[in-house]
Amino acid sequence: MVLFWVVAAVAVLAAGGVVLNRNAIYSALSLLVNFTMLAVLYLLLNAQFIAMVQVIVYAGAVVVLFVFVEMLLGATGRIQVTGWLTPRLIVAAVAGFLLLSTVGSVVYESAIGGMRGNATPEMLAQAGQVQVLGITLYTDYLLAVQLAGVLMLVGLVGALQLGQQWQRGRTSQTTKSTLPLRSTESASAGTSHTPVSESGG
């Protein structure tokens, strides 16, 4: 019980740190703390395999990807965190309060109903949590697993294509590029386009 409160408090603080930090690298590190705390919560919820996947995929891969891109882009100083925008902050605070109060009242007032499954803690402890989960994943949800694989392939090809455009644009920087966005940029650069992020702070 105490563990839950400590972990929940740290998770909320880390989530706030993601939003509030001015430096994006600190936000990424707060995100790492938040992901790790969620892995602990999954352990508390008797979902050991999900906790491992959370650590490997989120805390391992996703945060590293964020930090890597931050290093790639932010090393030149072009990404600066711009200041607070007050009307936007007010609107966001009101929207967040409404969202939280709505969801919170629903959680508080309604009882959890629904059809109960057969995966009781005793059954899971006897048959093995990961084994039961794997059997469920590869029998009942086989089509969904296949579709998830196709989705990952499509995402991989898409990310690769974008990266190749980056390479191609770098090698032919001086010549006329064939990228469609390039023309709009040069058109707007002639009129009044100045990178705001240079001056923002």
């Binding site: 998770a11 938040n34 996947v53 803690p121 989705l151 990310a159 974008l162 992020s197």
Partner: protein
């Protein structure tokens, strides 16, 4: 260990989701916006797992798998777009990129 009520987990998920949503609305850096989207997805994952435990069902954990798959693909493609955007426009501000605005 199983003494923590499920409603507390649901409430924690709601709080984390709200923080992520407010972050998406407030922040203008694309990188931070993507991080806040990840926060929201994680809050939903927590809700899935908590409800799955409450209902003695593994479907919640199966759904968390698919959410993690989608989140990983989303981050990869989103960050690739961000790198490309930074090359083209030298900015990471979401308000600076408004070509689709009529």
């Amino acid at each position: 260990m199983s003494g923590v009520p499920t409603a507390w987990f649901l409430l924690l998920g709601a709080i984390l989701f709200t923080i992520g949503a407010v972050g998406v609305l407030v922040r203008r850096n694309v990188l931070i916006v993507l991080m806040c989207v990840e926060l929201m997805l994680n809050a939903v994952n927590l809700t899935f797992v908590a409800l799955g435990r409450e209902l003695n069902s593994l479907t919640g954990q199966v759904f968390v798998f698919f959410v993690i798959v989608v989140a990983a693909v989303e981050v990869a493609v989103g960050l690739a777009i961000l790198v490309e955007l930074n090359r083209l426009r030298q900015t990471a501000d979401v308000d600076e990129v408004s070509e689709l605005k009529g």
